[in-house]
Amino acid sequence: MKKLSFSFKSITHRLIFSCVVAAIGIYGVSYWQARQLLHKSVVTWLIDIAQARIDTVANEIEGKLQAIEWRISLLVYTVQNTEQKSHSLDRNQLLPLIKTLLEEQLPIQAIALMNSPDISGYYDRQGKYTVFNQETNKIWLSRCQINRHKSMFWSQPYPSDHSSYITYCVPLSADSNSVTRPWLAIEVNLNWIAPTMTEKLAQSKELRDLPLVNSFVFSPSNRQWIVKPTNSQLVQSWLSQKNYVLNNQQKSRGVITRTNSQGILTTTTVDSTNWLVGIAVPSGKLEELEQPYLWLIIASMSKDMLSMCVVIAFISQLTIRPLRQLNSSTEEMAQGNLNTILPEVTSDDEVGRLTQSFRQMRDNLQLYISNLQKTTAAKQKLESELSIAAQIQRTMVPRSTVDSSCNLPYQISALLKPARIVGGDLYDFFLLGSDAEGGQSHRLCLIIGDVADKGFPAALLMARTITLIRTLTKPVSIPSEILYTVNQELCINNEECLFVTVFCGVIALDTGKFTYASAGHDPPLLIRNQQVEYLNLETGSPLGLYEESIFEQSECMLDSNDLILLYTDGITEAMNSQGELFSETRLMEIMTSYPPNNPARAVRTIMHFCQQFVGDSPQSDDITLLALQYLPLGAFSQVKNIMEWNLTINSELTKLEVVKQKLGEIFQTAELNVELIEDAQLIVEEILVNIIQHGYENSSEGCIDLRIEMNKQQLMMTFQDSGKPFNPLAEITPPDFNMDDEERSLGGFGFYLVQQLAQEVDYVYLNGKNILTVRQAIPQTI
């Protein structure tokens, strides 16, 4: 069964609904009680009236009958007096008396003389005297039953000629011999009873609805209706119920009323004849009587309910109006317009208090928002200053990737990533002149440093340190001197005891001799022939703490292609979400597993794994990486006749120009002919574009390794990328030579050109990398 649920859109509706429901209940109870009361009252009143009327009727009947009795007894007395004198009935005297009586008393129909030896007969209304014959005698006898009585009596009623009659029998002599005693029988017509009843029971105008139609006169002795009620069957059944004693033994005095479920029955007896006179009011009639009053009650109650509902609705509307106003003001406020007008507080009740607190809340909110705006503006200003500071700091260190032309005997790649917007890490590299002994010219100085802490304060010390290093370093300086001088300067006015760890190294580019010293900084890694090891050094104390600090120098020899990696503890102390540190061990492992063959590769590899390790955790310290590769022979290693030039190309098309230019320079130095150079450049462009567009799908994240090997006969270029597996030999169909196919992918024509220009093109997918090898024949100069 589905549960009925409905909610009210308004308090008014809810109020009205509940009031109506409650009212229905309450009024229902009242109605029921009123109905009971009405019923009782009506019954009582009805009984009262009925009883009074019946009594009147009975008395009237009684009176009439008694009048007749009295008249008769007067007559009999007269006759008896005469009889005593003459010991016989004087018929002549008697008959006129009878005649007179007949004429006087209208109800008397006939008077008969019975049991009189010679004059039995009867007088009727017309004055005719009829002598009894056998038959009539018998009739009269059966009617009178004089044998049973000793003195005067009323007989039972009997019907005759459309009306009822009753006979009053009177003995005429004092003779107690019942057989021979003459009787006088007076036949009385009972047709005057009904009109009498009607008259007596007539209602006044107000009571015209009184159902007194069921009046009756009943003779229980012979079960005869003298006045029949309209619903005789009902009354008969009523009377025959157990409660009613219908035999003549009950001689009750007064009016009796019986009420039962069928209605009210009021009866009384006429003593002389033992008749039952009564009124029956069936319950149906009672209800009919009550009905109009009940309707009146219902109408009145409904009117009450209605007016109450109206009043409640009105009052509730009045009360709710300020609430509604408040609601609309609030909605407007919610839209963002805090300057709406709140409704006036007119009363001190809950609604008024609510309005009051709302007003307060609105004001507070406005205040809060304006405060917030001010704070945000200040914060934004601060942030913009910070970003400017970050920009300035970035310019303090040399550019991260030196676009070294291939003639420089080294390649550098560097990365500086502050943990906050500005940081305390620093690196630097610059050329020095020969040292004091004049033994080495062309020296390159490498610096890496880390200020204690991070953020703004560290950034300020970083700026100071890096400037001091540049300023105080002379062209002849050696690492220990540099560190010593800078330390002196930093120790002055350093009450805060801020310090900075610095590593300083100088490479003699001619000989490959690497001299270095450290002030509290970790030693760098040396990657040689795919072996990784730490450089040995004795580190001094950090700069800025002790004026008298001395920094011990160490040195080693660098071979060609050696890679030196300088880093700060932002790498080794990078923490992941479990609190683990990246650690030197992991750094070494990574460098061993993925030995980089150029500085850019080195930086990229370390950053990749560090990022992977840290995951989503925030960067805990500034990160700095500085990688240098020693290439004393430039791009060429003429000893082996192989030029290995590894460049890492960002998969951005904008770098293409740079690459091709470098290639041009390289090939020119190798004294290749122009045509070959042009072909090679074209090949490189087409392949790189292919890789970027197909393998990396134009994302700027991938990188491509290009290795160029050249010997006397052949120029071999190997392209390695870690993009989608893509074999251009298989997946690029040769173009159609239909000029309308300009929608064809670049690779269509491009790769075709490559194939045509190159002697040999090979592809293999190995270790997750696409490896494409292109070989061009070098025309031999004769």
Binding site: L656, E685, L753, Q756
Partner: protein, 124 residues
């Protein structure tokens, strides 16, 4: 700029562009835009003077192909003159352009055009 484009207009129905430098992936877009903006409704003939164009790659070929298509749709013509060796080599490999539309130098082209014009006049 790696590619420079000079506009040399001989008459209102002929557009002549001289290309200097290299036509590759990074410069191809420039040429395409230049052609697009310089072509007018009247232009019936587009001449590309490649005298100083040192280098071309497949990106450049694509631009040429587009230009040729545009001209064809206007019932016009596209001619190339003064090809440098590298460009010629590429054209040969790819067979990008019918040889009738390539001329060694400007004079040959002019002669050809005059002949064409004469033919048309003859017909009318």
């Amino acid at each position: 700029m790696a590619l420079q484009i000079h506009v040399e207009n001989t008459n209102s129905s002929t557009l002549c562009l001289a290309l200097n430098g290299r036509l590759d992936t990074s410069t191809a877009n420039d040429l395409e835009q230049s052609i697009h903006s310089n072509l007018t409704l009247n232009t019936q003939t587009l001449i590309l003077n490649l005298q100083n164009l040192n280098f071309i790659s497949s990106a450049g070929l694509r631009v040429f192909a587009k230009a040729r298509k545009t001209m064809t749709s206007k019932n016009g013509k596209l001619y190339f003159t003064n090809l440098t060796p590298q460009v010629k080599k590429v054209f040969d490999i790819v067979k990008a352009v019918p040889m009738t539309e390539v001329f060694a130098n400007t004079q040959e082209l002019d002669k050809y055009l005059e002949a064409m014009q004469a033919d048309i006049e003859c017909l009318t």
